[in-house]
Each structure stands twice: as structure tokens, then as C-alpha cells.
Symmetry: C2
Subunit: 221 residues, 2 copies
């Protein structure tokens, strides 16, 4: 059993007893994983906080807190536990076993935190930080792209600059409707391309974003 | 200003700008301390969790969580901030300054967490752990003695063993009252002392504890 888990965690315990304790739910009696869970919870909260702090130097405290909460909440930790297939290896009391405890989110997330605490005790802070960063690699990447989500005008401008082309030209082609219910039609043109793109919106800015989005579509073809 | 604080923290910043940021409340504008607070909160929660985990190997997860909460809550951190006299050095906006922000618990605790985050960035994990343990030394000591609070029978037994005397003798002298409302009278006698002590209680065990408490009083004279 330990070999399966070690392979998935990409970590081999020096002291296999720590892994066993981490997998032992309190319903089983004896040495169980609640103290390790306490420790692991503190470790993972700190490691993720540190990673986010450095990865997003312009994020506010509110953003950092929110992102951390999504990464280390019960469901996220239970997902990790499932990825490592901890469920079948959990040591549960007979009641929990019968009632499907191996698949319960709270039991899985608790075991995942306990594993983190156990790796920390087994190998020290640098090793557990390294493991956590690896386990969270995909989640951190997708957070990164979501957090850096830029508007179409910015993306178009960055694309053109990377091609050493001049900035796009936005022209208001028409404004329709009453004063406070106007629709703007804007064209966008870039260097070296005959074809214009067009955008509509309730403000000039929105129409420009729409036109930039359309131009990005043209350029990507 | 930095010298005062460095002396009290027993830490000199390599990068004094970090200390300045840690002392700057968001009301002041510019580079303020909220991101450092986010980081410092995670650091102190982890360090205190680790210290408690090792210091109390028999404590339950519930006890560890409760003790940590008392050590790192807003008021505890504000107390540390007052000990280091951070208040007068805080950089606040004019509104906060006028309304006594320098003494507000939330602003003080936030600055204290930011200082912890700043020390971590300035010198790394081992140094900040060392500082936190030093700052919390007295609180950890008093927690230790409170947590190891033993009952009178245990204390009496330990005292007698330390004096190489035999165990105390407890005798039920009388039981009064109806079956489910009994009062036990128990005497306690120790080697080399004529005088007995007496205790009363609704169970034999409680009466023995009471008698042991009385005997400890006699022995301490």
C-alpha cells in the first residue's frame, strides 16, 4: 500500500509509521491523524500563502486570501486526496467503513492535511514546501492565467508590440440611438492587414473592446 | 524610530523599507502593510502550531487549536504590538490619526502580523521562527504550566515520591446519605506525619482529591 501512495505523492517516507498515522482516522482508535492534521493545516496554509505572495506581487490582501481559501478548503484538499487515491488506504473504524467514510470529503481532506503534516515531520520544511508546490502546480498555473486575465484591447496591443507593429487604429464609424441609449459602432485596423474588424457596444470603450476581440480572432487564424 | 523598534524586537532589518511598509496602515496610502499582514498571519500561525505540536505531545487536536487561537488572535497580537511600542511609530492617514488609530487593537494586531511577515521576507524562515519563539516565550511558559495542571492526588504522590516516602493512605471514614446522594468522608495519611487530613465529596474519588488538597496544604507549611 505504501508504495502506491509514495509513487503518487512522489515522496518516500523515512518513517513509514508517520504515513500510517496520517491515514488512520480517529474512528479506528489508537494513534490517529488528528494531531498531524492540525500541523499539516498550518503547513499548507503557510506554503500556499508564501507562493501566492510571490507569484502575485500586485494582488491585494483580499485577493490573496480569497485565492488561498479556494486552494486549501476542504473540497480542494479532498480532491488532492482523490488524485493520490488515499481513500482505499484509509484506516477507518468499522462504522465509518460501512457508511462509506473512505469517500467522505471531510475524512479525505483531513487525511490529506495529515499527510502534509507527516511529510513535514519526516523531512523538514523545505521538502514539504517542494512537495506542496508540485502537488498544486496545475492549480497554481490556472489561477495564474485567471488572475492575469487581460482585456482584449490590452491583449491586442501586447500582441502587436511583440510583432513590432504599430498600435491598432480604432475609429467610431457610427453612433445610433438616443443620448442615453446609444450604440457605438467602432472599427479596428492594424498594420499590414487590409481587413478591418468591427465592434458594437453601449460605450465607445466597450465597442473598442469588442472590435479588438474580433481582430484577435482574425489574427489567430 | 527604527532603532527603538529594532531594540525591542531584538531584530535589525537588513532592508529598513520592509519595516516602514509593515508600519504603514492603508489609510496612509502608498505602499501599505496589508500584503505583509497576510504573509505574517500565515507565518505566525504555522510557527505557533509547530511549537505547540512539539511542546504538548499528548494534547488533542482540539486543545492545540484552542491554545493557538488564544496566542494568535487579534488581542494577543495587539498586546505584542504594545509591548514593542509600535503605536507611536505607525504611519496612519490623518483621519485614523485623529480618531486614535494608534491605539486601535485591529490596527496594532495588523501591524504586528506585518512585522512578522517583514522579518520573514528580510531574513528567512529560521530567523522569524526564532524571533516568534522569543516574543512568545512567557506566554508559552504560562500555557505550559496551565496545560500541565495536575490534580491534587497526582501532585501529592509526586511530592512524596520526590521525598522517597511511601504513597499516601486514603481511608473512607464514613458514607452519609441516600444511595444516589451520598457524601463520602475520606482521611489521608502520609509517612512520618501524625496528623491526618480529611476530605469530603459526592464520590470517593472526589473526597480523596479533597483530602489530598488538604494534605498538600499541611505539607507546604
Amino acid at each position: 500500500m505504501n508504495e502506491d501512495i509514495s509513487k503518487k505523492l512522489n515522496y518516500i517516507f523515512n518513517n513509514p509509521q508517520l504515513l500510517k498515522s496520517a491515514l488512520t482516522h480517529r474512528s479506528r482508535g489508537g494513534e490517529h491523524n488528528e494531531r498531524l492534521e492540525f500541523l499539516g493545516d498550518a503547513v499548507v496554509n503557510f506554503v500556499i500563502a508564501e507562493v501566492l505572495y510571490h507569484q502575485f506581487p500586485k494582488a491585494t490582501e483580499g485577493e490573496l486570501s480569497r485565492w488561498r481559501a479556494t486552494l486549501v478548503n476542504r473540497d480542494a484538499l479532498a480532491e488532492l486526496a482523490k488524485e493520490f487515491d488515499l481513500g482505499p488506504h484509509l484506516l477507518l473504524g468499522p462504522g465509518e467503513l460501512r457508511s462509506g467514510g473512505q469517500e467522505r470529503q471531510s475524512i479525505l481532506s483531513c487525511a490529506m492535511e495529515a499527510i502534509i503534516g507527516a511529510v513535514f515531520l519526516d523531512a523538514g520544511f523545505d521538502v514539504v514546501r517542494d512537495r506542496i508546490e508540485a502537488w498544486y502546480e496545475n492549480q497554481l498555473k490556472s489561477l495564474s492565467s485567471a488572475a492575469s486575465h487581460k482585456d482584449p484591447k490590452t491583449l491586442l496591443q501586447e500582441y502587436l508590440q511583440s510583432q513590432r507593429q504599430s498600435l491598432p487604429l480604432y475609429v467610431v464609424e457610427s453612433i445610433e440611438g438616443e443620448a442615453h441609449q446609444q450604440t457605438f459602432l467602432v472599427s479596428c485596423q492594424v498594420e499590414g492587414l487590409e481587413e478591418k474588424s468591427f465592434g458594437r457596444g453601449t460605450s465607445r470603450r466597450r465597442a473598442e473592446q469588442d472590435a479588438a476581440q474580433a481582430m484577435l480572432g482574425v489574427l489567430k487564424q
